[in-house]
C-alpha cells in the first residue's frame, strides 16, 4: 500500500464491531459445553499455583498449550481470518506459542517463583481471565453469549498465560530464554488486541494493556544495592 503512513488505524479496520463480537457468539455456540471444562481446569490451575505446586505449573503449561492451539485453529484461523486476513499470521504465532508452552511443561528445571509480589500478580491475572473477563460483555452492553472465555478466546487465554508465566521461573539459561520468549509473544498479543479494540471504539482496549503493565510490573526487579550503600560518609 502506497502512502501507508497517511492512513489512520480506523481506515484499516475492515469489519464492523458487531461483526467482531458476533465471532465470539458463534464460537461459543460451536464449542459449547467446552467452556465449562476450560473454566474448571483454569480454577484447578489457580489452586495449584496458589499452593506453589511445580506439578500444577507443568500441567498448566501443557493445558495452556492446548488452549493456544485451540484458539489458533478454531477462533483465529476459522473465524477471525475470513474478516481479517492478518489473523492467519496471528494463528501461526499462537501455534508457535502452543509449542513453546508444551516445551516449557517438559523443562526439568521449571519451578515456581519465590517472589510473593510476582506470584500475587500472576494469580490476579489468572483470576481476572477466568472470572472477570467474561463479564466484560455485559459491562460493555453486549449479550453474555458474546463473552470471551478463558481457553477459547484469545484475550483471556493470553492474560491467564501471562499469569502462569509470572508464577514460573527457571534454573537454566535455555528455559529462562524460553520463558521470556513466551512472555514477549503474549505481551505482543496484548498490544495487538488493545489496538484492535481501541480502533473499534471499545473501552475494553485498556484491559490487555493493563494486563501487560501488571506483567511487566511483576517482572520488574529492583537493582541490588551494593554493600555499604546505606553507610553515610563521615
Amino acid at each position: 500500500m502506497s502512502e501507508w503512513w497517511t492512513y489512520r488505524p480506523v481506515d484499516l479496520l475492515m469489519f464492523a464491531p458487531r461483526t467482531y463480537w458476533r465471532l465470539f457468539e458463534l464460537h461459543n455456540e460451536t464449542l459449547w459445553p467446552l467452556q465449562l471444562a476450560t473454566t474448571l481446569a483454569g480454577m484447578a490451575l489457580g489452586l495449584g499455583l496458589m499452593r506453589g505446586s511445580t506439578r500444577a505449573l507443568r500441567a498448566g503449561a501443557a493445558g495452556l498449550a492446548l488452549c493456544w492451539a485451540l484458539v489458533a485453529w478454531a477462533f483465529l484461523w476459522r473465524r477471525y481470518a475470513p474478516i481479517q486476513p492478518v489473523a492467519a499470521v496471528f494463528a501461526i504465532a499462537f501455534g508457535v506459542q502452543a509449542l513453546g508452552l508444551l516445551a516449557l511443561s517438559a523443562a526439568h528445571d521449571l519451578r515456581g517463583t519465590g517472589q510473593r509480589v510476582r506470584r500475587g500478580s500472576g494469580l490476579a491475572l489468572l483470576a481476572w481471565a477466568l472470572l472477570a473477563h467474561p463479564l466484560l460483555a455485559l459491562a460493555t452492553g453486549r449479550p453474555l453469549a458474546q463473552a470471551e472465555l478463558f481457553g477459547l478466546a484469545p484475550d483471556p487465554t493470553v492474560i491467564a498465560s501471562l499469569g502462569l508465566l509470572l508464577c514460573a521461573q527457571a534454573g537454566t539459561r535455555v528455559t529462562r530464554a524460553l520463558l521470556w520468549t513466551l512472555r514477549l509473544l503474549a505481551l505482543a498479543w496484548c498490544l495487538v488486541s488493545a489496538a484492535t479494540l481501541w480502533t473499534m471504539g471499545s473501552p475494553q482496549g485498556w484491559v490487555p494493556l493493563a494486563a501487560a503493565a501488571l506483567t511487566l510490573g511483576g517482572l520488574w526487579r529492583r537493582p541490588h544495592r551494593r554493600a555499604g550503600a546505606r553507610v553515610k560518609a563521615p
Binding site: M1, S2, T6, D11, T19
Partner: protein, 312 residues
C-alpha cells in the same frame, strides 16, 4: 431538475406477482407492489449505457465472515437494492469476505439480470492478477464482470494493458482505476489524460471536494464515468451532521435525512455517474436509494450546501 419516471402499474403488478411466484418474502412483494419510482440514471460516457446514480458499496458492511445470519441479512439488503431499482455493486479482493457475501446474495436472488458488477484487481505482482480475478468471479458466481478496476493504482502500469486486452476479447465490458481518501490525485490525473479507461473511482463528499478542481472536469472532458466512494466518509460525516437539524434547502430537494443530502450533493455533480454508499441495514439502503429520486440540487445550491455544511 430531472423528473424521475415511475414504474407503470402493469409493471408493478408483474413485479408483485413475480415476487410471489419466486417465493420472495411477503414484505418484498408488498414493497414491489408500491409505486416505486425508478432511480435517476446517468449514461456511461463510453457506451451510453444507463446506470442508476446510487450503487452499493461493500467495504466493511459485507465483510461478515462465515456468519450465516449476517450473510442472510446482507442478502436482504441486496434484494432491497434491486427492488429499489439499483444496479451497480462494487467490491474488491481487499474487502475480506465481502465477495463471498455478495456471491451468497446473488445466488439467493438467482442472479438478477439488472446487476452491474464492479470488481477490482488488487495485487502488486501483475502476473497474479488473472488468478485473483478468476477467484473473484468464482466468489460472485459470474462468468465475467461488467467493470474491472485497478484498486488504489496498485501496479496499474502492468494491470491496465491486461485489462484492456480482456475488454477487447469480450472478457470484460469496462475498465477502470480507483483511488480513495483523496490520495495520489496527481498520478490519477496523468492516467485520466493518457489511458483509454471507461471508469475512474475516487472519494468525494460534502467535506472532500478536491476532486472538483481538476479530476471531475477532466473525467467529463475525457468522457470517463466517475464512481464516487466514501460519500459519507465511512460514516464520520453523518455522525458529525446528525446532531444538527436539516437546513431548509434539504426539503426543497426532497431529502428527509443527512444521508440523502450527502448523496444528492455528490451525484448531482454533472461529471459523477454514481456513488456507492455501503450499508448492511435495510432502512439505510432505502434512505440511500431515495437520494436517487426527486429533484437534484443545481450548481448554486451545491455550493450553498457545501458552504453550510462546512460551517456547521
Amino acid at each position: 431538475m430531472d423528473t424521475p419516471s415511475a414504474f407503470s402499474p402493469g409493471r408493478r403488478r408483474w413485479l408483485a406477482g413475480a415476487a410471489m411466484a419466486t417465493g420472495l418474502p411477503a414484505w418484498a412483494g408488498r414493497a414491489l407492489a408500491q409505486p416505486v419510482q425508478a432511480p435517476q440514471t446517468r449514461p456511461i460516457p463510453s457506451s451510453g449505457e444507463a446506470l442508476p446514480v446510487v450503487g452499493l458499496g461493500s467495504w466493511i458492511t459485507f465483510n461478515v465472515g462465515n456468519d450465516p445470519v449476517a450473510r442472510d441479512a446482507c442478502a436482504e439488503v441486496v434484494r432491497a437494492f434491486f427492488a429499489e431499482g439499483g444496479r451497480l455493486i462494487d467490491s474488491s479482493p481487499m474487502y475480506g469476505s465481502s465477495q463471498p457475501t455478495i456471491g451468497h446474495a446473488l445466488a439467493k436472488l438467482r442472479h438478477p439480470a439488472a446487476l452491474f458488477s464492479a470488481e477490482k484487481v488488487w495485487v502488486g505482482d501483475a502476473a497474479r492478477g488473472a488468478g485473483q480475478m478468476a477467484a473473484s468471479r468464482a466468489f460472485w458466481g459470474l462468468q465475467r464482470f461488467d467493470l474491472m478496476q485497478v484498486h488504489n493504482l496498485l501496479a496499474w502500469q502492468e494491470h491496465l494493458p491486461r485489462l484492456l486486452e480482456m475488454k477487447a476479447a469480450g472478457r470484460l465490458r469496462y475498465v477502470g482505476i480507483t483511488t480513495s481518501h483523496g490520495r495520489r490525485h496527481a498520478e490519477l490525473e496523468r492516467i485520466l489524460r493518457t489511458q483509454p479507461i471507461d471508469f475512474v473511482q475516487l472519494s468525494h463528499s460534502l467535506l472532500d471536494r478536491e476532486a472538483e478542481q481538476r479530476l471531475l472536469p477532466l473525467a467529463r472532458e475525457r468522457r470517463i464515468a466517475v464512481i464516487v466512494n466514501r460519500p459519507f466518509r465511512q460514516g464520520d460525516l453523518l455522525d458529525q451532521l446528525r446532531r444538527h437539524p436539516l437546513p431548509g434547502w434539504a426539503r426543497e430537494i426532497g431529502c428527509d435525512g443527512w444521508a440523502q443530502v450527502a448523496l444528492k450533493f455528490v451525484v448531482s455533480h454533472p461529471a459523477v455517474t454514481c456513488a456507492i454508499p455501503a450499508t448492511s441495514q435495510l432502512t439505510h439502503l432505502r434512505q440511500n436509494m431515495g437520494a436517487a429520486r426527486g429533484p437534484m440540487p443545481d450548481a448554486a445550491l451545491r455550493a450553498r450546501m457545501a458552504r453550510d455544511v462546512a460551517a456547521l
